[in-house]
Assembly symmetry: C2
Homo-oligomer: 606 residues x 2
């Protein structure tokens, strides 16, 4: 392909950050218009990253290096037809890196992005589809009228329309999209699909929306702060507490289902599913067996989303002698409150969030509590996490700095996971220094600490395996002061009638054993709710391929199978914490809407 | 009092609007600091207005003219101690009037205002208390943590605290404030009091929050647009329809009660009340008899708010022969749907909003409908009202122009009612021209139109008497095209077994008679819920004293008895449309909170 402008090869380095960005965008625009891949890739550093959420790739992908970028453009440019790149707000410069928000159009819709330049070349580019042209959400100027101002015979009121939908969707009319799991993830996605007019049904096995929260141990509060936790469209009011109590969260989710007018079947289990890829002219169709309030029903959605939580099934180890134990054994997910364990001997196996919270709850109820720590744990003080971690994007200060929830989500997504890993190492070095006394006391109490295998800390543990850490909200002080006994660096050998026996031979008399031993993986849900064959086809879900514990390589650059096309056509995985659920539900919703409308969605597969 | 600065007598006219405002504020600050009333009043035009919401007067008052302003300052300046007047944002100039937002402090709290200058002197000043110092709402940086990050024996969870409050408030613990009426007005106020930590109980006679909306005729949608209708703190999401259907509104209110954690007794009637002004060391105390889900209870709040709606009791005329009528007679408030009146003869007596809406509903159900118009009616096309009326402050365009709901409320409140009246005459002249064809057609159909006695139109009819108009959402076309028969300029003489007989002798055979004849006044609620003596003490509620039909003079300058101290200590009236309820609930909440905290609240009484 002929060059039309040699200047893109070696862009001049402008000194004004805004001018530098403008020059880069102009050069990119010229090169893209000319379909000149070489000129495009020359605008990037050799080790540049381009993270794309659906805008170019119709998937979620990070391209690692100039060659990968060129390869992606070669495969996508002709149909994506990017255009109208403009800077959105002022560019800034920090330590030689120029950063700017950008907007752009594609053939299918409109995107936003964040560009970072070093010496005039792109170091990172982030592009994210925001809306589909012709299928914009009906908000603001586009909101519905709510009523036709005329006398019209045969009109249906809002209440009649709602009642008719409830009587037909999933019964006589099939939903285009079925979401299995009605927690914050499922309903946030359903709200987005509702606004995009995708007929969607949410099913959940519990009695009421929010029950997954209500059923947890009574002292549970969110470990993430309020600014991080908003659901789409309906933010918490500004007096909402920083850390939402679990029942309050449950009520909020129940309200959300109603206010967002979601079609939601409670007390509904997904029993199995199969997929016919050739049905409906190649769109594919699921056959999903569910039990809906006791009645067996078959659903035929085109798209199926598993939103059963990034935690899979409760994972309870089977220790020798467990069947002989005369006390009570519970998985942490079944523990609700320590009130009935006053004065009793309780052994909590595990040392992550739930283990600590349950120890605190038992201690508050004057039980005798022992924690069994089987492997090193990352501990982060909540205050430190807020100040060094979340605070820049999710806090009152962040809001004052212009980081609305929407902008914070985009900014957070704009950094490729490789760079996140490096940045987090610095964060946790700083945290270790800042909280050196705290960590020393914990170590002195025998607690086995780590900051992840490579020192990248809590966020990466979460992204790699969703476990291995405790956000300290009071438990560490009990360990430090010996209020909760600690047995660390040991395994459980076996149970006897009245005790837990450790690998070092110690015997812990016990009335209660709580297995705070975590959850299986998301693919476990696929095997159980859909079929083992489908789960096998999809493979591992979650994790970055970091080649660390529970996250085998090779490097993926993105969370496996999350919010993007999987090896099983028509099957999607959705979940994560509240921030991820909110942020990524947009991109999943856009992918589903595009398919419903029959738009071309050629998925870039590397 | 000695002058300290002669320059305030004749301020120089600055040409830059911002500079003019700054000079004026500086002069005001100097004069106020010096307690120089003469110098202060010289800063105002002789016919200037000062509207104050609680900041200076501890009531709601408009001072009409320089003398009145001086008199108010003489009585209030020493204890209000206003200070720190600053311009808030840029000043603007339109047609010789300079307008600017201002902020200021008082001894009790912080205020905002809007100043309008002409030729360097104040033409209107608006001052509104926004928060009490030391009792700021716990929002943003002040939001609660939600949890104490520590192990604490005896801690109460959120759910336990909520349950304890529900078990005690109104039973073993008396609310400081009792709100009678749990519609949008009552609950919006309760939410504000909740944030201000005023123990408040809302009682409502219906089964569920929102039922007052749900029970209305099925096609009802709000006549005011969404931007006007937000409740405090929790705005509708941005896809909310422009005109909210009544059941959707009902659900929203029910959700609001729950999310805002209001103490709300449904199915509770207020049977009577008496007040002891000397109780509790002079704070006064009410004795209120209620029937709470069948159980008689006595409540002892210090403050009592009637929020039973600005519409009072349904008002049904007693026509001769009504007892002989063999068909069905209903007040409009009891009409729900026309489905059972297909092919039947229906006479609707009245010509305002409900009358028209019910005619439309009956026509849509293929009934034969006749409207009896007994007096001229103001009709406004909904679109015109939005464009010429609400739109400047309440629309998507207004939001783009920086009019957040809070700013729009303040701006709307900033114009004294005398000037509102004059401005509205111009609006309705323009509307009459714009919709000349529409009005001609209505007149041709025999409909008796007016624009208020002085041409000031719909808004003033609402403020003066809360009736006398129709916002056309489809009914006028039925009248114009004869689909609904119209008998206008007549009275109802009597009813017979099967007909309505008009004053001109015409006989209208009828299976159904709907009395869309409006509601009594708010003081009717006081007589019924509290006692006739209390109602008599308070006198008329609502209306401006405009000396027009149903609003006798003398001129009040404000709505009588609304949101401000009344002749009955401890009794307050709250209500109005959604915008008024939202906006004025702030000022009522601040007055109640100040009293609870024992702040001095010397009420300026002219």
């Amino acid at each position: 392909m002929a060059r039309i402008d040699n200047s893109v090869d070696a862009p001049a380095v402008a000194t004004d950050p805004g001018m530098a960005v403008q020059e880069w965008l102009d050069a990119l625009s010229r090169a893209l218009s000319a379909r000149d891949i070489e000129a495009c890739s020359a605008l990037f550093h050799p080790d540049a990253f381009w993270r794309d959420l659906v805008a170019f790739s119709w998937t979620i992908v990070t391209l690692d290096g100039r060659e990968a970028i060129a390869a992606m453009l070669r495969k996508t440019l002709a149909h994506v037809q990017p255009s109208r790149w403009v800077m959105d707000g002022a560019a800034t410069e920090t330590g030689g890196t120029v950063e700017a928000w950008v907007r752009f159009d594609t053939a299918a819709g409109r995107g936003r992005g964040i560009l970072r330049l070093r010496d005039g070349r792109a170091w990172t580019l982030f592009t994210a589809l925001q809306e589909l042209r012709g299928f914009e959400e009906p908000a603001g100027d586009r909101r519905p009228r709510g009523v036709v101002h005329a006398a019209l015979r045969g009109r249906r009121t809002w209440a009649e329309t709602r009642a008719a939908e409830a009587a037909t969707l999933g019964i006589s009319i099939q939903p285009y999209c079925l979401i299995v799991g009605g927690g914050q993830g499922g309903i946030g996605l359903a709200a987005r699909l509702k606004r995009l007019e995708v007929p969607t049904l949410v099913i959940d096995r519990l009695e009421r929306p929010g029950d997954a929260w209500r059923r947890r141990y009574k002292t549970l509060c969110l470990h993430d702060p309020v600014w991080y936790d908003h659901l789409p469209y309906l933010p918490f009011p500004d007096h909402w507490p920083v850390f939402t109590p679990k029942d309050k969260m449950g009520d909020w989710l129940e309200m959300y289902v109603q206010v967002m007018e979601l079609a939601y079947w409670s007390q509904t289990e997904c029993l199995g599913a199969s997929h016919d890829p050739d049905a409906d002219g190649g769109a594919g169709r699921w056959t999903v067996q569910v039990r809906h309030q006791g009645v067996l029903r078959t659903l035929h959605p085109t798209q199926l989303v598993l939103a059963t939580g990034m935690s899979g099934l409760p994972q309870t180890p089977r220790f020798p002698g467990a069947e002989d134990f005369q006390g009570v054994q519970l998985h942490s997910s079944a523990f609700t409150d320590g009130a009935s364990w006053r004065g009793k001997r309780c052994v909590v196996i595990g040392s992550n969030n739930s283990a600590h919270d349950i120890c605190v709850n038992l201690w508050e109820n004057e039980a005798h509590v022992t924690m069994v720590q089987r492997s090193p744990t990352m501990v982060a003080r909540s205050e430190t996490l807020q100040e060094l971690g979340w605070g820049r994007l999710f806090s009152e200060q962040a809001l004052r700095n212009g980081f609305t929830t929407e902008r914070a989500d985009l900014m957070l997504a704009s950094t490729p996971y490789r760079l996140v890993t490096e940045a987090q190492k610095l964060v946790w070095q700083a945290a270790a220094e800042r909280d050196a006394d705290f960590y020393a006391q914990l170590r002195q109490a025998g607690f086995q600490l780590h900051f992840g295998e490579d020192g990248s800390g809590l966020t990466l543990l979460y992204l790699r395996r969703g476990s291995g850490y405790y956000i300290d909200v009071g438990g560490s002080a009990l360990i430090i002061h010996g209020e909760v006994s600690l047995c660390s660096g040991v395994q459980v050998a076996r149970l006897t009638a009245h005790a837990v026996v450790l690998s070092d031979g110690r015997e812990l008399p016990a009335d209660l054993v709580v297995y705070a031993t975590g959850y299986g993986s998301m693919e476990g849900w696929a095997a159980r709710c859909l079929s083992p064959a489908i789960a096998a086809r999809v493979g591992k879900v979650w994790g970055l391929g970091s080649d660390t514990v529970q996250d085998p390589g090779p490097w993926q650059g993105e969370l496996r199978n999350m919010w993007k096309p999987t090896a099983q056509p028509g099957l999607w995985f959705h979940g994560g914490n509240l921030q991820q659920s909110r942020s990524y539900s947009l991109y999943l919703a856009l992918q589903i809407k595009a398919r419903m409308e029959g738009l071309a969605t050629p998925v870039f597969n590397g």
